[in-house]
Amino acid sequence: MKRNKPLALVAGAALLTLAACGGGSSDDGDNGGGTDRTFGDQEGGTKDAERQGPAAEIEGAAAGGTITVYLPGDPGPDTLDPTAGWSVTGNSIQQALTSRSLTQYVRDEEGQPVLVPDLATDLGTANEDYTEWTFTIRDDATWEDGQPVTAEEVAFGICRSLDSDAFPSGAGTEYSKTYFEGAADYEGPYTGKDPKCENWSGISVEGQDITISMATPFPDMDYWGAFMAMGPAPLGNASKPPNYGTKPLSNGPYKVDSYKPNEELVLVKNDQWSADSDPGRHQYADEFVFKFNQDQAKVDEIMLSDNSDSQTAVSTGLGSDKYNDANSQLGDRLVQQTSQCVATLTPDYTKITDVNVRKALAYAYPYEDVWIAGGQVPGVTRIPANSVMPPGMAGKKDFQVDGEQITYDPEKSKELLAEAGYGDEPYPITMVFYEVDPLAVAAQDQITKGFEAGGFSVKAIPVQDSPYNVWLDPDNKVNKKLNLRGVSWCSDWPAGSTMLPPLLKGGAVYNTALFDEASVNDEMDNIATLPLEEQADAWGALDEKIMTEYFPIIPTAFLNDLFVFGSKIGNPTGDGSIGAPNYKDLYVMQ
């Protein structure tokens, strides 16, 4: 899942890992006397196929009130069409409040995500080799107009995810297209002029049962089912894009009242939703108001002022300059949530062919300095990373490429360059930075400084577009000159299959390193066929193998989010599955 906050883009281009070493973080910042925050262990989560509605009441929860959510620097989703959602923001809001899917996550007492049924009555049943999944759709779920959600509608929604021309940024382009049988040749209901989805044979509906056939074994189908793209859509023209994206028909506890892209989304109670039909969601607040593209400094002031407006508000970000104030004032209402994301630098594997040069880059990157200049809090919103798989992911190995955490060490970088035969003159690096944001410019200055000290010469090209648009466009004239790119990536579900192949498989869209080793590609294909219980460890082993043998990608940091909750917001928690506030369980204290 791509991070779509501009700052995270910067992160991709720039920000990253704590140098526990030289210059180290000074200890006198502890003047606020606030909570000492350490990284809560995020675990892969569990599954509970038996969970049934209604969801357990939150202790002390009350009904009523309006919750305002500020999203600083986050433009929000471009469309509300469930099929098109692959951003953290859109998916977290809609999946939790308006658009149900086959399965969903709930937060358990320890803060770990639990996969539970949603529109399906259980987590689906697969055949032995995971090439056929059957979900039984519950019969008591309804749309906001009171009509029941039928199995045909769910099947149609799933079918829509195969239309990669109508929904180019949808997650279906990665998963449905890859795994569903016959998906590769099927253009989708809109592009393929097949409005009833009759020409795709990969799905069949019998009564309340939906059966999906897979082209390759897909043991993670139950996780994929937690994406809102795996949910129902009204048949026919009612759900035709792009109009459906402005006001999708809701089947969750809230429905869309008004939506202004990049500005505001207002959700109000959906009185047709019945709590008995839903094992995970609550309907405490009367209304949710999401305000996109907010100014970080303004939101920080609002949240810290604790006035009557901010008491029922939530902010999905906190400026690093406010961290100490917030930490000492807010206590539990400042929530640090691991977002299961990794920020990386990706040296072009076709141009920087020597592994020592790639390692030299890792040693020449001034992690902590880049974080500070880029407006991050070292050790809080950014922590050092050792590999691509985020902490807590099942199978992740606790290894270090060179025996210990790579930190900023320009001397070591020079040694490695000399070893590779580039000791005489600086090794040229060409990269881009987003010149519109002063934080990105400052971060780039630090990177240039560090790289030059480490024996590189840096040509930093300013761009006024999202760096992703440069990195992902093979025909871009700037992109052709680059030999160092970056990407920030979040897991779609707690499995290595959502981290390693999207970033490091030959030909993958976000494989900006252009890393393509046949043995690694084969291994990835091979892991998908392993028995389910062996897969996690296999991904972990592959992660270690890739990093130690090839070092094609430089993980610079694991990302954390900071959420601020108003003093009258009950149950201030984050959602461990996605890196967003836990919208499902919020309420307004009365």
Partner: protein
């Protein structure tokens, strides 16, 4: 306005000149020997505000011209330090106590402190920011006023079709919204030139061009109006009758009489451009490499930094306010000094 050619018809009964003097008196003799410019300079020298403003402007010019040597004398530079050496990432990114304010005393290594988050030296950035500001404003003023004066002279003197056409261009340029054009041009420049090694210079040149293109119309209109009035005067008629070429009439007869409006429009254009440069940099267009007062203000207008470390915002802000204010007041004083009708 035109001091030396003003005849009785312009002075008339509204004259604010001192009462009639005996041409043989001591006072009258002293005045008699001075050129109009010298009289104006004399008046300027007696104007206390003008003198103070001139000194302030001179100070900024020295800072801009000698930014390098002054920085070297203080031992500071634009060089980016490693952020963690100078600022405390866990304390809101504010400078460490040994780096000066806000958490420690001022130090000689960094006389104006260092920037939060990056640790860059404020003094060096202030000096070079002053240079960028004045360089861009002065160059743009030069181009805009030359274009404005020439267009105004031609339109006013030639009249007829030429006047109609030039006036049309003036009106057309006035209708283009400046900010919108600047916002549009920035990404175009970036897209076209971002691979160039001279990107910074190209960016500044583009900014000068934009400022000039949208700055000449006021001067042109002013000069055109003045010329319209002047060309019907006897000395111009006389020159025409004598068969003087148009070029000579324009530059020898008309231009000297336009010195006052030109100086005034220049003295008001300069501070406008200083403020515009900073404003555009604040908006993230124009100069983006950080060496600009506007960019420093953009980084400093963070409520936490303003509360904890107000000096960081005050430094560039004071620079802009003092420079713009003194240029404006100086411009007013020059106008007053050049205008014989001013009551003083």
């Amino acid at each position: 306005m035109s001091a030396d050619t003003a005849g009785p018809e312009t002075l008339g009964s509204l004259s604010t000149e001192p009462e009639h003097q005996d041409p043989n008196s001591q006072q009258a003799k002293e005045i008699a020997g001075k050129s109009p410019m010298r009289i104006a300079l004399g008046r300027l020298a007696k104007d206390k505000i003008a003198v103070v403003c001139a000194v302030v402007v001179l100070f900024f010019i020295i800072c801009a011209v000698f930014a390098g040597p002054i920085s070297a004398a203080f031992g500071v530079s634009l060089e980016t330090p490693l952020a963690s050496e100078r600022v405390d990432g866990l304390n809101q990114g504010l400078p460490k106590p040994e780096m000066g304010p806000p958490n420690g005393p001022f130090t000689m290594e960094h006389p104006m402190g260092v920037a939060p988050r990056t640790g860059e030296d404020n003094l060096a950035y202030w000096l070079y920011g002053c240079r960028v500001s004045l360089l861009i404003a002065a160059t743009a003023t030069l181009f805009a006023s030359v274009v404005g004066v020439i267009v105004g002279l031609l339109a006013g003197f030639l009249g007829g079709a030429v006047d109609k056409m030039l006036s049309f261009f003036i009106d057309m340029f006035l209708t283009i919204p400046f900010l919108l054009a600047a916002l549009t041009i920035a990404p175009i420049i970036n897209d076209r030139f971002n691979l160039s090694d001279n990107y910074g210079t190209i960016q500044k040149t583009a900014l000068i061009v934009v400022l000039s293109i949208f700055g000449w119309m006021g001067t042109a209109r002013l000069i055109r109006g003045e010329v319209l009035a002047l060309r019907e005067r006897e000395f111009v008629q006389a020159a025409r009758v004598m068969g003087m070429p148009t070029r000579r009439i324009l530059f020898k007869e008309l231009l000297p009489n336009l010195a006052a409006p030109i100086i005034i429009s220049i003295s008001l254009m300069l501070p406008t451009f200083v403020a515009l440069e900073a404003g555009l940099a604040f908006l993230g267009i124009g100069v983006t490499d950080g060496v600009s007062w506007g960019q420093t203000i953009l980084k400093a207008t963070n409520l936490t930094f303003f509360r904890e470390y107000p000096q960081y915002l005050w430094q560039p802000l004071l620079g802009i306010v003092a420079l713009v204010l003194s240029l404006n007041l100086l411009g007013d004083a020059v106008r007053d000094a050049l205008d014989p009708k001013t009551r003083r």
